[in-house]
């Protein structure tokens, strides 16, 4: 699989768990411990599936997404939110278009793998030269 995954979470245990899970499947993964680290990775060219924690200090997942969009770094990525709850979050309003899916913690490893593989496949789809109206 060529598509890369970035885990963005301030919790080291979560980052390592996801790293081990994906590396076992041969999926390339990079880790970011904060929203700022995530933005740095995107600025230096990372494109792939972002697995983003919502609750992070300084810059939470929502603000990180706002920065991704504001800086023009969204194209070529798919963002999946990592959350402890599945309840609607008002902070998501206005940016829900950029949040493709939710992954609830604690996550089922097989379900997470299936989801990441599906979105990785979608990311690899080429633009068929659709013309806008």
């Amino acid at each position: 699989m060529e598509t890369k995954v970035m885990i963005v979470d301030d919790n080291e245990y979560i980052r390592e768990s996801v790293e081990i899970l994906l590396q076992t499947e041969g999926i390339q993964i990079v880790s970011s411990a904060s929203g700022n680290e995530c933005l740095d990775q995107l600025e230096t060219g990372f494109r792939g599936v972002l697995l983003m924690d919502i609750m992070m200090p300084i810059m939470d997942g929502w603000d990180t997404i706002r920065q991704i969009v504001k800086r023009g770094l969204y194209e070529g990525n798919i963002i999946l939110m990592l959350t402890a709850k599945r309840e609607p979050d008002e902070k998501m309003e206005g940016i829900q278009t950029y949040v493709t899916d939710y992954v609830t913690k604690p996550f089922n490893p097989m379900e997470l793998l299936d989801m990441i593989k599906y979105y990785a496949t979608i990311l690899k789809n080429e633009n068929p030269c659709h013309d806008s109206p």
Binding site: M92, M115, I122, H130, D131, P133
Partner: protein, 192 residues
């Protein structure tokens, strides 16, 4: 112009996986299927192609001015509102975001008119954040349509389906595989 049967699906966060479950093993329908997924430009064609890979019906990005065909799935492109003209033709328009989104499910569903003769209108609200689609589903119900909302257990985010169900205009609340089965039953033998 003869009105086709129409299935209109509104969905947001968690949508690609929910749509994959809905369309896997769904037989070709005697209906034009329109999906309004909250999605940015640049991602829409990827989702369409991903869904096309599992669907028995061709899945394409909706184009402005295109006439609806049954046994075909149209995905609204990001950055435009999708509307139907006379239940038979797709109109894509730029404009302000509605319910924070573009395309908006409410805009698409409210553009549906009462169908001629016995054509069926089916409205579906799947997983997603916010309330987009709630007034749209009320509109479809008021036209005599049949309405679905994804249940809480199977929704990644039980926001849009709950808002739709809270209107009292939803006929069936269930998981995507049950919605798939029911829609196939409703449209069985209703082709022209």
């Amino acid at each position: 112009m003869i009105h086709p049967n129409i299935v209109m699906i509104g969905v947001s966060t968690g949508g690609p996986i929910a749509l994959r479950k809905l369309f896997s093993d769904l037989p070709p329908l005697n209906a034009a299927v329109i999906i309004v997924l909250h999605i940015p430009q640049g991602m829409d064609f990827r989702i369409a192609k991903g869904l096309d890979a599992v669907s028995s019906m061709p899945v394409t990005l909706a184009e402005d001015g295109e006439y609806l065909r049954e046994r075909h799935v149209y995905l609204a492109p990001g950055g435009f509102h999708l509307m139907l003209e006379g239940n038979s033709r797709i109109i894509l328009q730029e404009g302000p975001r509605i319910n924070f989104v573009q395309p908006s499910v409410d805009v698409a569903m409210k553009s549906v008119i009462k169908p001629l003769k016995n054509a069926k209108i089916i409205g579906v609200i799947l997983t997603g954040m916010g309330k987009d689609g709630a007034s749209g589903i009320e509109h479809i119900k008021a036209l005599g349509g049949i309405t679905f909302a994804q249940d809480k257990e199977s929704s990644a985010i039980y926001g849009m389906p709950k808002a739709a169900a809270d209107t009292g205009a939803v006929d069936f609340e269930c998981a995507p595989h049950k919605i798939r089965k029911k829609i196939a039953e409703l449209l069985e033998g209703s082709g022209k």
